[in-house]
Amino acid sequence: MTITIKYFASLREAQGVAERTFNSSEVTTVADIIAQHEMAFPENTLISVNQVYAYPETTLSSGDEVAFFPPVTGG
């Protein structure tokens, strides 16, 4: 299945890109993406799926947008 991966802030800078497409038949959860991801994420990385906060155990469907970003600092 095809997943769009987005990175924000310091993670975007670390990846060198803001977005990439991920194709794999061996993905069912966010944890699978993390396991197959080339570069390890910092431990405090936050996750969203389709723009809603998500977790390693969140199940994915083809076409989902998964984002990885550092703790937030708005306000």
Binding site: F8, S48, Q51, G74
Partner: protein, 152 residues
């Protein structure tokens, strides 16, 4: 139904002018509102003992608005208000400029006080914004915290 307006914009704002406009546009005919609570956050010229000359805010277009809205809905289900206005700057911000405005209107003060504070705390800990500071000595750094994925 509460009037809820959430805006994210890169233009410098006057919080007081936005509040004036919002009241005139949305609340002029509502004579049952007795209370309005407002919080404005401004950029400080100092952070962690370093002099900051400029700050750049990044956000996650779409998710940021949606996450704030989720937070607002949760808070006002407990502290009902007639209206809520949230405005957050993104892009480049200078010391003294307003970063964020959070305002709530209600019949009596308890609701507006509680809702304003809780909405703002929720925004700070869950809305996807990230601050990058440029210091006077030329260093550039991301502001770091340790917020968590909010469990639903």
């Amino acid at each position: 139904m509460a009037t809820i307006l959430i805006r994210i914009d890169s233009t410098p704002i006057s919080a007081w002018q936005l509040l004036d406009q919002f009241e005139q546009e949305h609340l002029a005919d509502n004579k049952l509102i007795g209370a309005c609570s407002v919080f404005t956050g401004k950029m400080r010229s100092s952070n962690q003992d370093d002099e900051v000359v400029t700050m750049t805010l990044e956000h996650y277009p779409g998710m940021t608005e949606q996450q704030i809205r989720t937070q607002v809905d949760a808070v006002i289900s407990e502290h009902p208000v007639d209206a809520c206005l949230i405005h957050h700057r993104v892009g480049e911000v200078k010391p003294g400029e307003t970063l964020v405005l959070c305002a709530t209107w209600s019949a009596h003060r308890a609701q507006s006080f509680r809702a304003c504070e809780e909405i703002f705390e929720g925004l700070k800990s869950t809305a996807p914004f990230w601050k990058k500071e440029t210091l006077k000595n030329g260093d550039i750094r991301w502001v770091e915290t340790n917020t968590k994925n909010p469990r639903p």
